[in-house]
Amino acid sequence: MTRRFLGLIKALVLLACLIPLLHLLARANGLGDLGANPVQEILHTLGKTSLNLILITLIITPLRKETGLIWLVGLRRTLGLLCFCYVVFHALTYIALDQGFAWNSLFVDVTQRPYITLGFISLLLMVPLALTSTNSAQRRLGRRWAKLHRLIYLAAILGVLHFLLQAKIDISDPIFYSIVLLLLLGYRINTWLKSRQAIKNRGNS
């Protein structure tokens, strides 16, 4: 795998991930439209894209292990950072466009509405991950880097719960996301159990 090839793949992934955002911008500027409730349409599109990206980010490692395509891991950071960007845009849409910076009602929402509390915590958990995504931070943190970045699992769980708890009554979409997340987490739990078994077996022999 050449460096140039990976660069090309990364650029393509970046472009593909920007499509939902560009599509929203196009619709907001008269190419198509955002429907009767444009703010909600933007809010939901950004939120849904965030969830899609966090799940795609989490699929990289299993995919790499199962296919042996080592270079896939090079996409993880790009995907993770794009996901973080969408989460930030989602939150900003809510704070600015939807709530119009009404800090009192925002405070009530974040502290009293469980789905917003969970979404907010999920966003906060992703901040240190984005800040430590550079090569130098990775080197500096050493083994602690991998430990810190396990927070992505919690952020993903809270994100999906945020989606589930805001659904009025039709939870078919959140259930689908929950199942995908459970499979991705299950893969890791299974790997972890196997490695523990292996260590135990080595100890016994």
Binding site: A36, N37, V39, L97
Partner: protein, 332 residues
Amino acid sequence: MLIKRPQDIKASEITPESTFRQRRMLLKTALAMGLIKTADLSAQEDLIPLNQKESGNREEPFPENGRLNNLKPWPSNVSSEPTSFEDVTGYNNYYEFGTSKTDPASNAHTLETHPWTVTVEGEAEKTGTFALEDIIKGHTLEERIYRFRCVEAWSMVVPWVGFPLGDLLKRFEPTSQAKYVQFFTLNDSDQMPGVRYPVLRWPYREGLTIEEAMHPLTLLTVGLYGQVLPNQNGAPLRLIVPWKYGFKSIKSIVRIRFMDEQPQTSWNMANAREYGFYSNVNPDKSHPRWSQATERVLGGNIFSARVPTMLFNGYAEEVASLYTNLNLMTNY
């Protein structure tokens, strides 16, 4: 603009009796000559169930072109412009046709609204299955511009066409036992793809106290924007209860039941903590998961601000007296 109540009418605005009589004479003559068509009051008196009618022929309840003409104007207190026809008919909650806002507009074409019947049962003297055309005949259709507030904290302004539900209910002669009225939506999986999924308990059902049902603001609705209801808006016959959250305004009504106890309602059955029987619009009573203090008015742009929600959706003056002995925070 305020609703003009009788005591507000100035003496100068009252028609002198002689003029009034002259007008009546003119009207009578014109009527006799067949110059004007008006509500056939005699037809309103004998509401006969379909199975007791001599002729089996069904009439068209509405003009073929769907236009509803000669609508009586109504003094609305809504100052803002009505929401566009496109948004009123393109952004709907009608789960029988799917749970997304655009599903009803895409899927409701399969609803067959003619011939339509309404079955009346329970605590009333006149019960049975009635033809839609017989139910409508004799009632003067009014154009009423109402605010419409969804429990999901969005709202619109709609020029509905209909007549007071109470005027119809009286014709069934409810007994003294009739304390509540329950309504049911059509439940037909051939016409309604959404009822194949148990999102809610089908058929959709809603209910009002008899006082709420008889209140002059409660509108039995057959149209909007001067034409018959589009299917996605609950054709051919729906309720509009403007001081309650939208889900109380049941669509495509096929059954009305007079009851002596509080009826089951679909959203209450689905989640009693979140959706009460009354479900009056109340900015102080939050939905357990979101605030009801403000609402987003449909049809704005991305920079439009939310607006404060009003108690009883701005109809407190007319309806607050229905709830004087009720704690609105516990009876939501």
